[in-house]
Amino acid sequence: MVLDRQLPHGGWNYGNTLVFGKELHPMPESTGAGLAGLAGLVGRDVVLPSLSYLQDKVTRLRTPISLGWSLLGLAAWDLSPPNAEALAERCLANQGRYGEYETSALSLLILGALAADKNNHVPFLSISAHHDRMSSE
């Protein structure tokens, strides 16, 4: 079902591929979710155009849902961008522009940043992690 909804030139959107003969636009958050869901279940060649689309797109994403899902989707295929931390930090800083993020969006961003970080160390999380450790001691 998920594969059936993959766009011919790569990526996913809200679930439609072609309408009246025209291929619709892919969306990063849907593509990230599709790739995360299919990792380990299908060969890389099957989703290669989607991976290419998301790799091209990810560095330009500024909002938590798109970036969070994109980082999760790429990490599931070992393709995290080298500047994932910086992207996540920039996205966090954008709360000054958009207002505070909803908890679910913020959680998604943090999950994406953690998934993208092979060393399991995300600096912008370290202050709160340290605080949590101190509280529990």
Binding site: Y14, V19, F20, H25, M27, E29, S66, R97, Y98
Partner: protein, 341 residues
């Protein structure tokens, strides 16, 4: 020369007038014949205003203000009101800025309402295609404008809702869930885009209100509304919400395979009014579309508002002076046979 708009005959009667009279005669004569209610409705009246604006850099606020004053929207009425503007933000594509209401039309509307003494003006949208509303807000250019103007934007896809009984009763939905935010505003203004649409023929101020239905309740792309019927849902939403004003961005619209994949169409107009079916019918005539061939408009006629050209007092520019046929695609059923003749 063919029939004038709305198929008026030489006696000044429209086909609808004749049908209405015939239906009434049958009812009176037999008392048994079922006739759809819409053929028995009394005619309504409305006013719309059409302004020529050839470029987004022109004085949109001043133009909207002039139109609003012409329509009787004055300081006395707006003073102290909380105004919610609902743009048409669907998704973004770098090569297709004409998908969405232009940010400078929103800026103009904000300024116009503030100049009329509104207490607050806010912008709210729940895009139909994107789960990431902020991405559409950013990529459409609206974030730049509203941040600079210090105007609050609300993502209504994830907002808490409140239920109202379905006043339209066209679909099977017993209730409609609107954003709770709407309980805190005085006016809801549809700030739509002038576009053709591959499911409904045209998308204007009434169809734009699909975007007020929160995605967390109705899904993406508002699946619940599609399932119970797009045309039914448009009517139910408008009948229940009762929006107060409409502005349609027709400076650059979209023709062909709208609402996403169509081509830009330079029209150079802003259309506005208090009555949404009347505004949309006027837009249709500008686009070279017969509003009686757009199902939800035909069904709204003289219920939610008038769509006959005789019932709409046209202010500002004449339709003839700005009319330009939008491309319609023969292979798209909703666009077949809707050309105004």
């Amino acid at each position: 020369m063919g029939l004038p708009p709305d198929h008026r005959n030489t006696n000044g009667l429209t086909r609808r007038d004749l049908l209405r009279a015939a239906a009434a005669g049958l009812v009176i004569g037999t008392g048994l014949v079922f006739v759809p209610k819409r053929y028995l409705r009394l005619p309504q009246q409305a006013q719309t205003f059409v302004a020529k604006v050839n470029d987004y850099q022109l004085d949109i606020a001043g133009t909207l203000l002039r139109g609003m004053m012409e329509l009787g929207v004055n300081r006395e009425e707006v003073q102290g009101k909380r105004i919610l503007l609902k743009p048409n933000l669907v998704e973004t594509a770098s090569e297709s800025p004409h998908i969405n209401t232009h940010p400078l039309v929103l800026r103009g509307a904000i300024e116009a309402f503030l100049r009329l003494g509104a207490a607050t003006v806010m912008v709210a949208e729940g895009p139909g295609h994107r789960r990431d509303t902020l991405a559409v807000y950013e990529e459409s250019g609206l974030a730049d404008v509203l941040t600079e103007d210090r105007i609050k934007f609300h993502d209504i896809n994830y907002i808490t809702g409140f239920e109202l009984p379905n006043a339209g009763r066209q679909s099977t939905m017993k209730t409609l869930t609107f954003p709770a935010l709407f309980q805190e505003v005085d006016w809801i203004v549809s700030v739509a885009k002038m576009k053709t649409h591959h499911w409904t023929g045209a998308t204007l101020s009434m169809k734009n209100l699909f975007g007020v239905m929160p995605g967390r309740y109705y899904g993406w792309p508002k699946n619940v509304l599609h399932k119970v019927g797009i045309q039914n849902s448009i009517l139910d939403i408008n009948a229940t919400l009762k929006p107060h004003f409409a502005i349609v961005d027709g400076i650059i619209g979209m023709e062909g395979d709208g609402p996403i994949m169509g081509q830009p169409k330079q029209v150079g107009v802003l259309v506005m009014g208090r009555n949404l079916p009347a505004v949309d019918a006027t837009c249709c005539r500008i686009m070279g579309i017969d509003p009686y061939k757009v199902s939800y408009l035909e069904r709204a006629d003289n219920w939610l508002g008038p769509i006959s050209d005789r019932s709409i007092e046209q202010r500002g520019e004449t339709i003839a002076s700005v009319q330009t046929n939008f491309e319609l695609i023969d292979t798209i059923p909703a666009q077949q046979g809707i050309r105004l003749t």
